[in-house]
Symmetry: C2
Subunit: 460 residues, 2 copies
Amino acid sequence: MTELAAVLGRIDGELDNLIGRLFELVRIPSISTDPAYARHCDTAARWLANNLKSIGFSAKVVKTKGRPMVVAQHRKAGKAPHVLFYGHYDVQPVDPLELWDSPPFEPKIAGNAANRHLLGRGTSDDKGQLMTFVEACRAYKAETGKLPLNITILLEGEEESGSQSLVPFLKAYKKELKADFALVCDTGMWDRRTPTITTALRGLVGEEVTIHAANRDLHSGMYGSAAANPIRILSRILAGLHDQDGRVTLPGFYEGVPETPPDVLAQWEKLTGTERKYLKSVGLSLPAGEKGRSILEMIWARPTAEINGIIGGYTGDGFKTVIPAVASAKVSFRLVGDQDPKKIRAAFRNYVKSALPKDCKASFAEHGAGPAIRLDYSMPALAKAAAALNDEWGRPAVLAAMGGSIPVVGHFQTLLGMQSLLVGYALEDDRIHSPNEKYDLASFHRGARSWARILAALAA
Amino acid sequence: MTELAAVLGRIDGELDNLIGRLFELVRIPSISTDPAYARHCDTAARWLANNLKSIGFSAKVVKTKGRPMVVAQHRKAGKAPHVLFYGHYDVQPVDPLELWDSPPFEPKIAGNAANRHLLGRGTSDDKGQLMTFVEACRAYKAETGKLPLNITILLEGEEESGSQSLVPFLKAYKKELKADFALVCDTGMWDRRTPTITTALRGLVGEEVTIHAANRDLHSGMYGSAAANPIRILSRILAGLHDQDGRVTLPGFYEGVPETPPDVLAQWEKLTGTERKYLKSVGLSLPAGEKGRSILEMIWARPTAEINGIIGGYTGDGFKTVIPAVASAKVSFRLVGDQDPKKIRAAFRNYVKSALPKDCKASFAEHGAGPAIRLDYSMPALAKAAAALNDEWGRPAVLAAMGGSIPVVGHFQTLLGMQSLLVGYALEDDRIHSPNEKYDLASFHRGARSWARILAALAA
């Protein structure tokens, strides 16, 4: 039996223990966006550092202005490559809580024998995913007494809330973190049978806009129509973000947006059978984006503007005839190609200001920014990882684009001069960011096996 | 000294006691729209019934499907007219609580010696106002041993939440409630020196619309632009409610809307000096309604559509890249002339449905409806009340229109065949429905005196 086969056998044999450790981590409600959960983020970071120490890593919890970072190192593999693994231990808020079938921080195994899954906030994004790598390391160490690569692990606690501490941290810890390349486990598979390496990621600009009208809430009978209504103003502004054809109207928005090459579009065309399923699975049927583009193109290759939240006036039970003093919305832009996050933010703010009545004001809050990323297809590690994934899943790995944004990949490129290899096992029905988040048991189990194979392949 | 002078003297001499009784009532948090406060509405109703009994009224608390009614009678004035007094003891919610300078249900006296006012939710709308009438009765009875008119008092507990029980109640208690005419104290003064009788009221249609898109919240990176975003759809729908000139776009909306006669517009023109002050006092400067109409015309004589609340997606601290499954808004229409509330509601719903993508749905909830009202200028009680108000305030009473809606006045007309005389002492800066609601001590004190004079005048 080869060393790798023994490691894989250990992962299979100890699966219950792997699940037990993941569930311990999921039970810690490490929501980063809400300050009320800050101490739980501390707990999760300490739990991870201790877990990594038990494998033989030197591990520490590093304080930041926000949530702490976990940094761990195991560099005893001589001339083997040095990789930096990245994951994040923070999770999304759980509201609306009433839509969860079971408490989000009391993980459990659900589903039938053919398709079991792990239920709970963070089981997929990103606790379950990061633990696939950690468990691969644990099995390797337990079985062989060593790790095949020099490994540094960085686990972030602010990925779901704008990563405010990340850039200063990467700058300050550059020496410690710089490796030959990075491994990132925060992406998905094309479908539940097809392993996937993500080679392009959209960028993100997060904005919060508040419209200020009267200096206090007004009675709509006494002031209605005469006094500016900030909800009406905000609605008009948001409605004006897209034209009739679904294109974003901000001046200069499409600067730096490349057209997808016809051969790539043709490849995507072949995947189109799943397009309808993609919308059907969430109860929809009509693509809502730019006219004349396929769903995959909309999600993988086109920039977007989305409204992620809106609030204003009376929103409780019953009715209140109020004209509120303020109304606000959270808006995000997904970027592709060379779109400049700073220019997009400025264009949005200028548009809002130009659309305001002269007696009203707007204020803005920044919620993160990162450009789009395209990875280097010629990176040797890419071919090795693809072969390892093929061995595990029995199918060639798809090299895919991704609609979401992982700003850390851009920072690794610009601040640490490192390419990243993005391998993940999430599925589109994992309901990440939604109630009833889950991670397939197969994603978790075969994810850990995949990493063990990738570690071996990269060392070869 | 005349009987009336003695009654007025008693009101002056006992002012501290009047304030004390009002404060007792204000301390009861009788918010009708929120079921959590139902028991406090019961308490307020019982408090009022007991208060009226202590004056010599036969008084009872009548249960309804919602909040109870208070009905009291004192009919020992022989052939003197029989009047039905109407007020409401329920109050608006207090959110946002953090904007109150003092707790809303712990009333206190504030302001300087020249302009003292009573602070607290309901001090103006409508507890302070209804108590001006009750205290006038109390002073009359204490001073003279009788009341000059036959008086029935009806105090409602659902005025701020759609008055769902009112129509069935008026039908069931028609005999008891039918009087020669009604007195209603829920309106304001033109300014702090000018007494006002309100002769026209706008109608109201309250609607809540919810847009349903995907069957669950989605990650905007994975689904953004491809999946319908209900906030974007709702924004577009709300933005489309008005055209560039501020006119409401619903088909048939302006059917039955009369143009205001030129002589009335000319009268209003004279009041225009205060127009700017009206907006300036709330921090605004530009009329937001239909182009080419004055502010007074917008508020008194034109129909409107206002958005009173909106909510969707993530609205907490920080950011969440979600595309929500639903988004909703509360919308109200103020009606004038012969606009039909049913037609307006149907036109709104049809418009929303026609503006939906085919894979999305809308659901609606009804929050009250009532047509616009115009009272009979030839009603003899009007002249008597105007003269009494002139005596108290030293200025002729203005006969004004009002932007708000008091559906009960329409019901009195159609169900009980009664005209109403609307006299109130609220001021435009009373911040009703807003944080820091207040009632001027002068409104309260001289309001009670005014009712004493009106009672005497109507008996003469």
